[in-house]
């Protein structure tokens, strides 16, 4: 091996070792930003109005933690409904069946055309419209009954209200994604004998994901914050609702709002990490750039050539 390495070194010119270009602009910008940031942090730390001791006291308060958990549950469940229903609606809007197309259009028209706050208030009033929900055969036997007056019902209505509203937006995102996949891809699938459903599931949707995921991440983070509107149901077990209850008693809204902001930011950060990995998964085949594994295989194949 050593002999071939020597031979290779003789053949190849010295690698270039140039002095890197100086970039003083970056250092100046960094200094200015750091000084400004330092001044702000100093000001905030020494200003008694922020009440940092109260902030510290409530940051890990069990009520706040439970509220954060409820907010996260609301977000995840509502988004699950939104993504599944939104995909169904998008596929319906693009399907050859005119009945499905029209139905999806009307759904979008209603749920995107009215404010989510109003929709949530409506869901809160649902129990005064329908006393109980019974699943079963019309005018026949019933299988399941829900009591719509309980607290669990308020949570369920919050999830349903947020999810159905968001589905309308997700439908448009998924539709944009589907339309971004070239006509040739569908033709190739159909020419291979794949059905319309197979073409959607195997060819179109996986490629559409690349376009769908970034705005969906946006919607997910938007949803996290929209959950604070569940007060319209009314439901106050979420993060913001709990903080409001606490500062309604101790009259210190600023530190408690900082506490909620901290938790919203923390959850958002976790969600962004998830988005990064999802995007990486669905960008397969997009770049001409070879993966590390492929590069290594090519380099191995090249070795005997250098030795020659």
């Amino acid at each position: 091996m050593a002999a071939t390495d020597d031979a290779a070194r003789e053949l190849w010119p010295e690698p270039i070792q140039a002095v890197p270009l100086r970039r003083p602009g970056r250092w100046i910008a960094a200094t200015i930003i750091l000084v400004l940031l330092g001044l702000f942090v100093y000001g905030a730390a020494t200003n008694p109005a922020y009440k940092w001791d109260t902030y510290a006291k409530y940051l890990f308060d069990t009520r706040i933690l439970a509220g954060a958990a409820v907010t996260l549950e609301l977000t995840v469940l509502a988004m699950l409904i939104a993504i599944v229903l939104g995909t169904v609606l998008a596929v319906m809007r693009l399907s050859p069946n005119p009945v499905l197309r029209a139905t999806a259009w009307v759904y979008l028209w209603v749920f995107r055309g009215t404010p989510v706050f109003v929709q949530l208030v409506f869901w809160g009033l649902f129990p005064s419209l329908y006393k109980q929900i019974v699943l079963g055969v019309p005018f026949g036997p019933s299988f399941v009954e829900f009591d719509v007056q309980s607290l669990q019902a308020a949570f369920a209505f919050a999830v349903i209200g947020l999810g159905l509203n968001e589905a309308a937006y997700m439908a448009e995102i998924v539709r944009a994604g589907i339309n971004s996949v070239g006509e040739g891809q569908r033709e190739a699938s159909v020419a291979l004998g794949m059905s319309w459903a197979q073409t959607m599931r195997r060819t179109v949707l996986p490629q559409a994901m690349r376009v769908i995921i970034p705005p969906t991440g946006n919607e997910l983070i938007g949803m996290l914050k929209t959950t604070s509107l569940v007060t319209a149901i009314p439901l106050s077990t979420d993060l913001y609702g709990r903080a409001r209850d606490i500062y309604g008693v101790n009259f210190q809204p600023i530190p408690l709002l900082l506490v909620t902001a901290t938790w919203y930011l923390a959850i958002t950060s976790v969600l962004m990490v998830g988005q990064y990995y999802l995007e990486r998964h669905y960008s397969r085949g997009v770049s001409r750039q070879l993966t590390a594994k492929q590069l290594r295989a090519l380099a191995d194949a090249q070795k005997p050539d250098i030795a020659k």
Binding site: E187, V190, A191, L192, G193, G285
Partner: protein, 260 residues
């Protein structure tokens, strides 16, 4: 269409096939026949309806008038007595399974590797076990000279390599008929040869092929029948050497003189 002993059913039989898009008539009565194992090359100016006719054969476009049969079976419709019934998409998909198609722009699935592209239809449509599909996929890749690129994504391949994978993908469904829609038109000149070589080998193996092409050299050497189309009709057809050397019609002459 019933087969008789002395006249076997042709692979393709077109009887005055017409196709219009709205008010625009693209095919105005195309009649031709392709026997089993025969290679037919379709040439003609752009807009003459060659590609549309090709797409009618595997029902990517629906024929408006006339009759088109593949392997004795009416394409896109079912005939009961005098009436024609539209086929259910499932039945249309079943007809397409046996017809391979290669596109001008390859249309490989960019999110799947070369090998995954090839096994997609066999595993999804024909429900072939994955292990067997992979084995056959590697054989097909070797056949088109792409054995070492099994794990490459289409974006990492040259145009010629992509088209060879696309041919292998079509072959994976064991088609009885292969359609080529200007397979080399989107390629750099130095890459055309490798694709034509694969197609020539395919023709030699006895595959029935319909090729829309501008490669006159390929048409002369490989085709059994050369068809010149213009304005939605077949202007002239016959053995390629004869049509290319002594065209009978003025329009054929004019077209060929522009090419050479």
């Amino acid at each position: 269409m019933t087969a008789t002993a002395d006249a076997p059913v042709p692979m393709i039989r077109a009887e005055r096939v017409c196709k219009s898009f709205g008010a625009l008539q693209v095919l105005k009565g195309v009649s031709l026949e392709v026997a089993r194992g025969e290679v037919l090359c379709l040439i003609g100016p752009s807009g003459s309806g060659k590609s549309t006719f090709l797409r009618c054969i595997n029902h990517l476009e629906q024929v408006n008038a006339g009759r088109l049969y593949v392997d004795g079976q009416l394409v896109g419709y079912r005939q009961k007595g005098d009436k024609l019934y539209e086929l259910h998409p499932r039945e249309a998909a079943r007809q397409r399974r046996d017809i391979g198609m290669v596109f001008q722009h390859f249309n490989l699935f960019p999110h799947r590797t070369a090998l995954e592209n090839i096994i997609e239809a066999p595993t999804q449509v024909k429900k072939v076990p994955k292990a067997r599909a992979l084995e056959r996929g590697r054989e097909l890749l070797a056949r088109v000279g792409m054995a070492d690129k099994a794990d490459a994504y289409p974006a990492q391949l040259s145009g010629g390599q992509q088209q060879r994978v696309a041919i292998a993908r079509a072959l994976a469904m064991d088609p009885k008929l292969m359609l080529f829609d200007e397979p080399t038109s989107a390629l750099d000149p130095e890459l055309v040869g490798e694709v034509l070589t694969v197609m020539r080998e395919l023709a030699d193996s006895g595959m029935t092929m319909v090729v829309v092409t501008h490669e006159m050299g390929f048409a002369r050497e490989v085709a059994d029948q050369l068809v010149f189309m213009d304005g939605g009709v077949v202007v002239e057809s016959g053995p390629p050497r004869k049509v290319l050397a002594e065209p009978e019609h003025e329009r054929t002459k004019a077209f060929l003189s522009r090419l050479l």
